[in-house]
Symmetry: C2
Subunit: 330 residues, 2 copies
């Protein structure tokens, strides 16, 4: 297997986040389940936006946030995702390239709009996401560059991509290319409602041995396995995943690799906005993993990166993550 | 004179800010004067954006920031400014309306883009602004609603509007309408480079008795009067302005109303990004003024509002300004 040109190549929804404050009453009136992600169409996006408080716009997208963090940590990262030819598409492309992430997916015209996620942040720092996929749902398998996937040591995919049809097909093809080239495939379950929608597909990927590294939070792994609790969920996937990483919010995180198991406590943080916590945990962990650091150290890198991103609004790191981790690991 | 329907109506550039971190070397390489605002064309905006770090987008515009603060403080505010029919125009309109500000200026088509300001924030919290005016420079006098201006107790204008030709003519007309209706006209000098460009016009406005309230920082009032120092500058405009407010960054602010003079110290703050400091000072001060509070209290309200906005990225308040001021004033 030739040396990899990229450490991590991610495929995900290319989204600009619109973050606004909201209170619990607002979520209740709108019938929104706090902490979840739901898909909305253009009309609902416009309606909800009209009722939201003033926003701040920053690039987002789950897997895109992860490669943004990976690039900030000094690894070579790439991203594949679909934007439209519009101002938010320019914002997304600028922000990810400015971090040094390789991003070459051609934007789509035809009157499509770049995806945006209306994120309502409550005073308890929980985020409730309303995603208008726009152009992102039309990522075609033809947008994949086979050579680029073969040249990346780790292919990282988000479960959210299973929602729209075209990207789902593109993902299946990307997994086949990566596995054919002997590369590792990492996958995040994204959201427990997303797991509900695609449990069969996700289980088939795992049972078929097509996932090397799985990222999930507690609710997602329980939803996937339909186990009664975390212990039951872990037992259900035991032996099917070379590497499993489960994040547990303020309870920290754990990783299981064969017979090896490691745990880490959550990093202390003044929590402002939890958007991107899981994405940046994955960034820190994968960076440690790519550098073949011990399992516990990779978990700690994930916890430190997650703590940084939840200490401010927005799902991309603002501090110098590399310096932060170097200082904390000593 | 009939009761006013609006407390403050502002006319200004309708701008979305794109805020990114930069270091002094970057400013030096780009030949940018730290702390200033310069106008750039579409090509230069695109070139500079391509070199900037990842950004966060929030609604801005000097006078727009001021009415955003005034609305947040519970007064009835309106705004007139020109956006284009595009995503950033929607962002601007949404954000200002979500605060309860009356904003009815119809967007312009014809392939124009909404104004954006590329703001480089250095680690000393100074902001260096590069403004692409886009649609904003085409605000026509025809966009003014005479009745709306007559119905506002205070008309608030930014000096920046003197740069482009059409808004300058619109401003002249707005001042004439407001004065004809017996309303107060407030004006901010905006930026010392802006004063350099329009010193003659600004002096003529003041000498002609067409400005009731002038906002300036130390550099701007010195540039306007070409005095040797602040004392000389104050002496030069003495008697020409019913009310003069001068902000002095970390040295606080002062106000002169006839024979009355008041001063206030700067409010302590952990300074992250000084963008919007003057705008929010004006918001706090004008709110006190509109409520006929003592001069010193209005200054203090300005200082508290300014301290809030410099404690985070972005030029619009994030905290509950009204509660903050109530708590601080006791």
């Amino acid at each position: 297997m030739p040396d990899a040109r990229l450490d991590v190549l991610a495929i995900g929804n290319a989204i600009v986040d619109v973050i606004a404050s909201a209170d619990d009453d607002f979520l209740a009136r709108e019938g929104l389940a706090k902490g979840s992600m739901r898909l909305v169409d253009a009309a609902e996006a416009a309606r909800l936006y009209g009722r939201m408080a003033p926003g701040r716009e920053t690039s987002g997208g789950s897997a895109a946030n992860t490669v943004a963090g990976i690039a900030a940590l000094g690894l070579r990262a790439g991203f594949i995702g679909q934007v439209a030819i519009d101002q938010l598409g320019e914002v997304f492309a600028h922000d990810i390239r400015a971090l040094g992430v390789e991003f070459a997916t051609a934007p789509l015209g035809d009157g499509l709009a770049t995806a945006r996620c209306l994120i309502l942040v409550t005073s308890d720092a929980q985020r409730t996401m309303n995603t208008f996929l726009g152009a992102s749902q039309y990522l075609p398998a033809a947008a994949l560059d086979q050579r680029q996937i073969e040249d990346a040591a780790i292919l990282y995919l988000e479960g959210y991509l299973w929602d729209p049809e075209e990207p789902r097909a593109a993902m299946e093809r990307a997994i086949a290319i990566a596995r054919g080239a002997g590369r590792q495939v990492a996958f995040t379950l994204s959201d427990s409602f997303c797991v509900d929608r695609h449990r069969g597909d996700f289980r088939a990927l795992i049972d078929g041995g097509r996932i090397d590294i799985l990222f999930a939070n507690e609710a997602e792994i329980i939803s996937l396995t339909q186990a009664a609790d975390l212990a039951g969920a872990l037992a259900a996937v035991e032996g099917k995943l070379p590497l499993l990483v489960v994040t547990r919010s303020e309870h920290g995180a754990l990783a299981i690799r064969g017979s090896e198991r490691a745990e880490v406590a959550a990093e202390p943080a003044r929590v402002i906005d939890t958007t991107g916590a899981g994405d940046l945990f994955a960034a820190g962990f994968l960076t440690g993993h790519a550098r073949t650091r011990p399992l516990a150290e990779s978990l700690r890198m994930g916890a430190i990166a997650a703590a940084e991103v939840i200490s401010h609004y927005g799902a991309r790191p603002e501090a110098d993550l590399e310096a932060l981790i170097a200082a904390k690991l000593g």
